[in-house]
């Protein structure tokens, strides 16, 4: 999205940033520039808002400002994702921090007139709380934002992602400067270890330890790879972060490079993310231009540069060894570990691979220190986690919460609960590798320790919510952060079939358990969904699932059966109804009769919930 800021946008005259003083100069100049405008109007241009014509809203905003001769009073800033995706297009007006949403181009004339000329709030365009029937004008009062703690996303939706100056004005590149000039490599690693930062890509591996292993290996060439393949089918955290704050990722990678002794970085991003690619590319170019990337950064002997590698539509390429193969130009098949990437990774050189969000935590830890950071979250799971909240939920979008926040808070306080008064059925933290969480476990803290006890993980941050009519088959992990909420209209068998279809599609074919096993499981699930299920199918699914988990070569196969096993465990009665009564209570499976299913004597035990 283009902005009128264009030419008059503040750009530093400093050609090469060499010192802290240079950073401070840019900071001061930017603040000076900002003082020219009494207001800032931030227009969200995250993926969801872009699909709702935020460009049209911005154009209309600018023409209205022109009409009322307010151009020099309001700085229109295009930002990354603000998070409140279901209410887009959204707009924040600073300094009051009024949050406008659900905007259309035709609204903008009135909004400009009321807000900037009459200096009151255009209430009907602010957030409407469905539960209380009231408008909520100020961002801080909107339930969706309350309880969030923006550390990784601090700039996302708040600054112009194209402006390195604005990033610097918000303390950007100070952490890199501090690391390079005041800390030894080991001290950087120690700080990350003390902060107890753990990988946000799904595995939760301690980042400090990973860096330490790579730093100990002597080699002329080492690499830092940022994993932005974001394969989980409902996840958009990494994408939003790259789109909204690309300099934060560049700075984090450079600090990582310094810590392990690498001069080269690679961002591996999936091909579908054209905006993320474009914005990251532009940020890298700009950083190079003023020597925040390249030779002797800040006048030290540390050199670091980053290139972008574009994936080509393979979920498996999120797995680190497969990702490396793909960067090397090969088929993205996983390799046996050891050797681990920290010993022999990209082109056989020591390599650290971190998830986008993990890297997004690095700069702030170095700048503010491990003690500050570890005050957020729980004892063992520090900091925050970003979740992509979606599914049958009122306020879907991007939320960042302290580790250990309960699922109930996320789904019902921030998420605003299930639409149309339907009943909550299950949530799916961790996407396709995770399992389900049902009502009785809603108070479980979302962190690395608690979810696995439920057979769930936090995954990557995808959080999907489903209703009772969704047919689902899942197990839970904090995983990557996909968080899907499901209501009563969700069929659990259908959900299981859905995830198995993805696993089957994405299986790379290298090992038999995954290649053949997922196909067999999918066939059985399809049969059940069509009403052709047989006695013993459930047992067969469980047996197959466990064998695949134990024998598959990599994480894809090892986690693929989880959704099936989890839904069987929690919703076995639905499977039984599909098989014995040819009935889908959610009314999703087209070949079966809809609910309510008569609980005919079928050997099915009614679930505890119903008793």
């Amino acid at each position: 999205m283009n902005s009128n800021r264009g030419e008059d946008m503040y750009q530093t005259g400093i050609e090469s940033v060499r010192s802290k003083k240079d950073l401070e100069t840019i900071q001061a100049e930017f603040i000076q520039y900002g003082k020219k405008f009494p207001w800032r109007a931030l227009v969200c241009s995250g993926a969801s808002c872009m699909s709702s014509n935020c460009q049209g809203v911005k154009d209309a905003l600018e023409s209205a400002l022109e009409k009322y001769e307010l151009q020099s009073a309001v700085d229109v800033v295009v930002t990354g994702c603000m998070g409140a995706c279901s209410t887009g297009p959204t707009l924040i007006i600073e300094p009051e921090d009024v949050f406008y949403c659900g905007l259309q181009p035709k609204d903008m004339d009135e909004l400009v007139r009321i807000h900037f000329l009459e200096k009151t709030i255009c209430r009907e365009k602010t957030f409407f709380n469905l539960n209380t029937g009231e408008y909520i004008p100020y961002l801080k009062d909107v339930p969706f934002f309350k309880g969030q703690e923006k550390i990784v996303l601090q700039n996302c939706g708040r600054i112009d992602f194209r402006s390195v100056e604005e990033y610097i004005a918000n303390d950007g590149y100070l952490a890199l400067h501090k690391a390079l000039t005041q800390m030894s490599r080991n001290q950087v690693i120690q700080e990350i270890s003390d902060a107890k930062l753990r990988g946000r890509g799904g595995g939760g591996f301690p980042t400090g330890l990973k860096w330490k292993l790579a730093s100990k290996n002597e080699s002329d060439d080492k690499y830092v790879i940022c994993n932005a393949n974001e394969g989980d089918p409902g996840a958009f955290m990494d994408r939003s972060l790259l789109e909204g704050d690309p300099h934060g990722i560049i700075e984090g990678m450079a600090i990582g490079g310094y810590a392990i002794g690498a001069n080269r970085g690679v961002v591996y991003v999936k091909a579908e993310y054209s905006k993320a690619i474009e914005r990251t590319e532009e940020a890298i170019r700009r950083a190079r231009e003023i020597n925040l990337l390249g030779e002797s950064i800040f006048g030290t002997d540390f050199s670091f540069d980053i290139e972008i590698r574009i994936g080509a539509g393979a979920f498996i390429c999120g797995e680190e060894t497969a990702l490396i193969a793909s960067v090397e130009g090969e088929r993205g098949e996983p390799k046996l570990k050891p050797p681990y990437p920290s010993d022999a990774g990209l082109f056989n050189k020591p390599t650290v691979i971190n998830n986008v969000e993990t890297i997004g935590n690095v700069a702030v830890i170095i700048l503010k220190g491990a003690a500050w950071y570890s005050a957020f979250g729980t004892e063992e799971s520090t900091g925050t986690k970003v979740f992509a909240l979606a599914g049958n939920i009122n306020n879907s979008g991007l939320v960042e919460v302290p580790m250990g926040t309960s699922l109930r808070e996320i789904l019902f306080d921030m998420g605003g609960g299930i639409p149309e008064g339907k009943k909550f059925k299950a949530a799916l933290p961790g996407g396709p590798c995770g399992g389900c969480v049902t009502e009785e476990h809603l108070d479980v803290p979302m962190d690395f320790e608690s979810l696995p006890e439920l057979g769930a993980t936090t995954g990557s941050g995808e959080l999907i919510c489903m209703d009772e009519e969704t047919c689902m088959v899942i197990c839970a992990t904090i995983g990557s952060g996909e968080l899907i909420c499901m209501d009563e209209e969700t069929c659990m068998v259908d959900v299981a079939r859905y995830f198995m279809e993805i696993a089957q599609e994405e299986s790379c074919g290298k090992c038999i358990p995954c290649r053949v096993g997922t196909r067999r499981m999918l066939e059985i699930l399809e049969r059940i969904a069509k009403g052709q299920g047989k006695e013993g199918d459930i047992e067969l699914l469980v047996e197959l699932g466990n064998v695949i988990k134990d024998s598959a070569f990599c994480g894809l196969g090892q986690t693929a059966p989880n959704p099936v096993l989890s839904t069987i465990e929690l919703f076995r009665d639905e499977y039984e109804e599909h098989i014995h009564d040819h009935c889908c209570r959610a009314g999703i499976c087209p070949d079966l009769s809809g609910g309510p299913c008569e609980n005919v004597e079928s050997g099915a035990k009614p679930s505890d919930k119903e008793l």
Partner: protein
């Protein structure tokens, strides 16, 4: 050079191959750059057919089998011509939960093609995407660059009418 900046609609075959050769040279014929070269090839030609694969193999000094092997591994690449308009139905989890599957089934029925196929008149190709990032507004689909949201089955025909 970014993939998005290639303007190839007006080029003839010969120019396209010249451009491809230039790309390969820019990438220094390094085998590790194969996937990036394939991205360019696809944006130049619309798909990566047998003739293009042969040229890449020859210029990069790699066995043809290697090119084909890598190409067919990745679902983003197509080895056959695609339609004038690409319909990508979002089947990310959120859109799926919100009814993406019936949308896809309906499209398959009215177009008479399966996922990954192209209609006989070359008007539409049908694809699946796993999450386009518009999760609050599902189910959704993309035709070319345009996003359509909060869909229901009955409105689909009308949307298709907009595309010749």
């Amino acid at each position: 050079m970014s993939i998005a900046t290639c303007r190839v609609d007006t080029m003839d075959e010969q120019d396209k191959f010249a451009l491809l050769t230039q790309v390969i040279e820019e990438y220094e014929r390094k085998p590790s750059n194969l996937i990036q070269v394939l991205h360019y090839a696809q944006s130049i030609f619309g798909f990566v057919g047998a003739d293009v694969q042969r040229v890449i193999a020859q210029k990069m000094d790699l066995p043809l089998a290697k090119i084909t092997g890598v190409l067919t591994f990745y679902s983003f690449f197509s080895t056959a011509p695609r339609g004038r308009h690409i319909i990508s139905v979002c089947l990310g989890t959120a859109c799926f939960i919100r009814g993406g599957q019936p949308i896809l089934d309906h499209l398959k029925e009215i177009l008479g093609i399966d996922v990954g196929e192209t209609t006989e008149d070359q008007r539409f190709s049908l694809e699946i995407r796993r999450c386009i990032g518009a999760c609050g507004m599902g189910p959704s689909l993309i035709i070319d660059e345009q996003v359509f949201k909060r869909l229901n089955v009955s409105g689909i025909e009308q949307i298709l009418d907009e595309f010749e």
